[in-house]
Symmetry: C2
Subunit: 271 residues, 2 copies
């Protein structure tokens, strides 16, 4: 991801994702990861007990656009070698959010003391990868130009339920001029493992968004008169499903503090 | 192209494009080609004197989306072996339109008597190929379901001029639900040689279309409240440019009466 991606944060940190994870593990980097290890896939984190993990896996497989699985651990094993050399999911994320019965209990910088031999870690693709591809293609991203997060909306589109996991699709929105919207479909279609192509263009009321200026999460982003709102499936969808399913124990990343992997963005491009 | 493509015309004619051209040459098929040789590329025809052909070639190369060159002849040579076995452009199109000084003079079933040793034939990709791909992908096309032609609009978007050829882009419009519009971008992106991806989605006034119910050519097609109008560059663009350039002599096909080639639609897919 070029530095311009987040103009309000410091310049790129850690060209090498392994170096980044070592710094995170040592407590030397505790902040957002948007400017960390550009060009490498980052992921959403969800950790669940094994007796919930099977249903969650099924939920992700039924809903691949909001919940693209980049990797998952064996029960009790905190390492994900397929995602990164020596990647220890207990310590290598800058900030974790702990849930009891679906309710957030607080954020912690390390979960070694909370780790159990029945926990399964899921890493799901995130939009940073396709946003980098959009910027590389010369397409402007207003929320990045404005130095803010992306607006997210809870739609009226149900996800496919799996056991106790269910809920409506959450989408992120980026405005584009019509010809750029076509190009954005082409560019993001190359990245099916990180949300892929948009799920909706224009006509937000058709998916239950009555006021584009009132996001469900994140700051509002202006849609100019010559632009269409373009909507992508969002990785907040599985987090919302976890909150509603109310497992007795769960851990996610803190928003913006992602899992940094050794996988290059270019390596997850389909074409 | 499946029979369902044109429900108001008879069932598929001529599985083999060579057989179709033989029938056309013999005067046994004089009608539209929409139901002829499904699965094979059909093309728009433009025939110009050699002293105009160079500028027209440059115009097409500068404007590949409305003017995708599928093949062209040597000056004076009426055969296009790269497009079809024994394809004689003087006799193998069901109906031709003759222009003098940019003004249509009438339609004829054969141009052998008009052929000259300075004429150059251009065959340009047409939307039949990508429409077949859209239907194959399960996407509905309303103008086909209604058994009518596609609506076309003269935009305010200038093409790149080349010598005496210039003019604004003409687009065709097909309405889609938003998620289908995304899929339509993906499907037609595979066919850059037959107009490719849409040039515009939604917001027709931005490209100079003030009333979607008043096409420039072709019948109006209803856009439902839950649909977006999706616009593709149209092969009528070069015909409009020829009319405005007013070459002393030119021949095109009669609308709907296309050049039937031996090239499979699947063979012009980019991916």
């Amino acid at each position: 991801m070029p530095d311009s991606l987040m103009p309000n944060v410091p310049a790129t940190l850690f060209a090498d994702p392994r170096e980044a994870r070592r710094a995170i593990r040592a407590g030397r980097h505790t902040g957002w990861t948007a400017n960390v290890a550009p060009g490498f896939v980052q992921g959403n984190l969800a950790i669940l007990p094994a007796d919930w993990a099977g249903e969650f896996l099924r939920y992700c497989q039924l809903n691949p656009k909001p919940c693209p699985i980049v990797g998952m651990s064996e029960p009790g094993d905190p390492f994900l070698p397929q995602l990164g050399q020596d990647l220890d999911i207990r310590s290598d994320v800058p900030s974790y959010r702990v849930f009891r019965d679906g309710v957030p209990e607080g954020d912690v910088p390390d979960i070694a003391h909370l780790w159990r031999d029945d926990l399964v870690a899921f890493v799901l693709g995130c939009s940073f990868s396709f946003e980098a591809a959009l910027l590389d293609a010369g397409l402007p991203l207003r929320h990045i130009a404005c130095g803010t997060g992306v607006p997210m909306y809870l739609t009226n589109v149900p996800t496919a339920p799996a056991g106790r996991f269910h809920g409506n699709l959450v989408v992120s929105m980026r405005p584009f001029k019509p010809a750029d919207a076509v190009r954005a479909v082409q560019v993001t279609s190359r990245f099916p493992n990180v949300h892929g192509a948009p799920v909706h263009i224009g006509l937000p009321h058709l998916i239950g968004i009555d006021d584009i200026d009132q996001p469900w999460e994140g700051p509002a982003t202006e849609v100019m008169a010559d632009e269409l709102p373009v909507f992508w499936a969002c990785g907040v969808t599985p987090q919302a499903a976890i909150r509603m399913a109310r497992p007795p124990f769960a851990i996610t990343h803190t928003p913006g503090h992602m899992v940094v992997t050794d996988i290059r963005n270019a390596a997850v491009a389909a074409l």
